[in-house]
């Protein structure tokens, strides 16, 4: 009850029309005369928009926590980009194309004579689809197990606590929720001037579904997606040229020394690179695609011919059609929805996780956020350590890293020491005849605390898990070096790299 009298000045400002008081949101709390709530039965504890990795993990976790949860997905299959057209199908192709390539080129010295080897691309794609279908159906099963309501349709905000869904099977449904999580993911960033048709000019989505092996492929962007998909088609017989604007491959985060080593290895496998090169324009009107390129700092123009151009210059948040403007939610200059450290938007009951907000666009980062967001809702606290999120590039050999690289530490003025160990000195790598690459540790010069671990070599993606754990626990390189690693394993290279950081490796 307002009992005190306030100065006239305050009185005047308080009697201004609501619209002038109420900032950019465009709605007014005081005008909610008719605001009412749905019945208990109709209201969900949580509605999640998006059934990708962030969304489905949040839904399952919420179900486990006993919340009444619904997950809305428009694709027709759960799992989002990762399961349907990203991580999973590309790994299937990477694995099978590697086997094909190895059988063709790497069997004689191992004492295996093979006969006529042929590529059956249709079957390779079918194997990929089988993996994808199995996993997406597995998620559907987990939804049922955890009592998650799965709604197929396209969602848009119609109010602060209300989402309207255009159902895939026709009709419309309105959901009211105490909490809403936006997990709508990301889409490939298009290249200006080139129209994506997923046949000649493709994104990663088209790159996992080509019907024949193109003779020449140009990849715009030498990041993880470009190099992985470039590897697949290179192994299957394409002449692949990667055009990268920056001076190194692998994208931000990859250590310069590791990037250089990786480039050499990929070049030996037949891939070509044009670094510090800018794509000026593309013409896809003819039979193939013509790309005009020049040196990034200015130089002679050159035209590259390709049957297929893969645009892999990054991804951007996908929030189109979500109706963010209906409830006044803000995005930054890159289209990411602005959130606080508990994933809350301006409207605290609406949270955002995964690719459509801050942080690296990685499925495992999204999963971590999904669990943390539910814990924040349920318990008031959650945990994601953004300094200990691994990155993996699934080429052969794989590249993996966690923490900071040398360039980043130099920029911050941190004093550090490094230690590395080559796989050529590792017994298991020798027996496997896969000796390319190395493990590199970066540790604080004074405290020996591990600041970053960078690996290029066989099984790097699995090996980095130990590095993430070390970083999460704040381990020193000596902690790792004094831990027993089984012999003979590739992991011994990890231990010896740690040893060489605080002392000396035994086998090198």
């Amino acid at each position: 009850m307002l009992r005190t009298l306030v100065p006239r000045a305050a009185s005047r400002s308080a009697t201004r029309p609501c619209a002038s008081i109420l900032q950019p949101t465009g709605f007014c709390l005081f005008t909610y005369k008719g605001r009412g709530y749905a019945t208990e039965a109709a209201e969900h504890d949580l509605v999640i928009i998006g059934g990708g990795v962030a969304g489905y993990v949040a839904a399952i976790k919420a179900g486990q926590e006993g919340m009444k949860v619904a997950c809305i997905e428009k694709r027709g299959a759960l799992g989002g980009t990762c399961l349907n057209v990203g991580c999973i199908p590309s790994k299937s192709l990477l694995n099978n194309s590697f086997m094909y390539h190895q059988i063709l080129h790497d069997t004689k010295k191992r004492g295996i004579d093979v006969g006529d080897v042929k590529l059956n691309l249709k079957q390779m794609m079918a194997a990929k689809n089988t993996s994808v279908d199995g996993l997406t159906k597995g998620v559907e099963f987990l939804f049922k197990k955890n009592k998650v309501e799965y709604i197929k349709g396209t969602a848009a905000f119609s109010g602060e606590n209300e989402v309207k869904v255009n159902l895939t099977d026709g009709g419309e449904q309105t959901l009211r929720a105490k909490n809403i999580i936006i997990a709508t993911g990301s889409e490939a960033t298009p290249f200006p001037g080139l129209t994506i048709d997923e046949k000649k000019v493709i994104t990663s989505t088209g790159a996992i579904a080509l019907e024949s092996v193109p003779e020449k492929m140009v990849v715009i962007g030498g990041g993880i997606i470009g190099l992985e998909m470039g590897s697949v088609w290179s192994r299957l017989g394409s002449e692949v040229t990667v055009v990268e604007f920056l001076g190194q491959i692998g994208g931000p985060g990859m250590d310069a020394e590791i990037s250089k080593t990786t480039k050499k290895i990929l070049e030996k496998q037949g891939m070509k690179f044009k670094l510090n090169t800018k794509v000026l324009e593309g013409d896809a009107n003819g039979e193939g695609v013509k790309l005009k390129v020049e040196a990034a700092k200015g130089g002679k123009e050159e035209t590259l011919d390709a049957d297929v151009v893969l645009v892999a210059i990054g991804r951007r948040p996908y929030t189109a059609g979500l109706g963010l403007e209906n409830i006044g939610l803000e995005v930054d200059n890159k289209g990411r929805i602005i959130i606080d450290e508990q994933y809350r938007t301006k409207l605290p009951h609406i949270r955002v996780i995964g690719d459509c907000t801050f942080g690296p666009m990685l499925a495992h980062k999204a999963e971590e956020e999904a669990v943390a967001a539910i814990e924040y809702i349920k318990k008031g606290y959650g945990h994601v350590n953004y300094n200990a999120i691994p990155s993996v590039m699934y080429t052969h050999p794989e590249v993996a890293w966690v923490g900071q690289n040398e360039a980043e530490l130099k920029e911050q003025g941190v004093k550090y020491k490094t230690g590395s160990f080559p796989f050529s000195a590792n017994s298991r790598a020798k027996t496997n005849l896969e000796t390319e690459g190395m493990v590199k540790f970066i540790a604080d010069a004074e405290t020996d605390r591990i600041l970053g671990i960078h690996i290029v070599g066989p099984n790097a993606g699995e090996m980095i898990a130990e590095g993430v754990l070390a970083l999460e626990y704040g381990a020193s390189s000596e902690d790792v070096g004094r831990t027993s690693h089984a012999h003979p394993t590739l992991a011994e290279a990890f231990k010896e790299a740690a040893m060489s950081t605080y002392g000396k490796a035994i086998h090198y």
Binding site: Q23, I338, D340, E341, G380, Y386
Partner: protein, 140 residues
Amino acid sequence: MIKFLGKRVAPKTISPAAPANEPAPHPASPSNSLPDSFMSYRSRVQQHGPLANHMNQPSSAPSAQSASPSSTPSPSSSSHAYGAIGGHSGHELGHLEPAKGEVWDRSELPARFGRMAWTDEEIEALELGGAGLKVGWGGA
């Protein structure tokens, strides 16, 4: 070496990284800041809306906070049981409008309270640009 002291027990109270009513920037936010709209929205819903009951109330809380309707149920004594904000249904929290006979904001008072008649002294003060203003008059 790490020595474990016994069975793991969750602490009774866990402080969030920042009080729930003071949103902190996301650790991966490139600008490391939040738009003003975050705080302005929250201060509004916490001052006048049902969230007022469930937030860590700052010591300088406006008097309107204590004026929340007493009929509003308190779903939990702990501000972090089932989430600090957004953990409860709006239905459970109560209405955004005050109960009958109560007001949360001056703007909701009948017009006669919002539009007080000008006094001769005020009119004179305006006309003279405050030159004839008596000491202490404007302090309310």
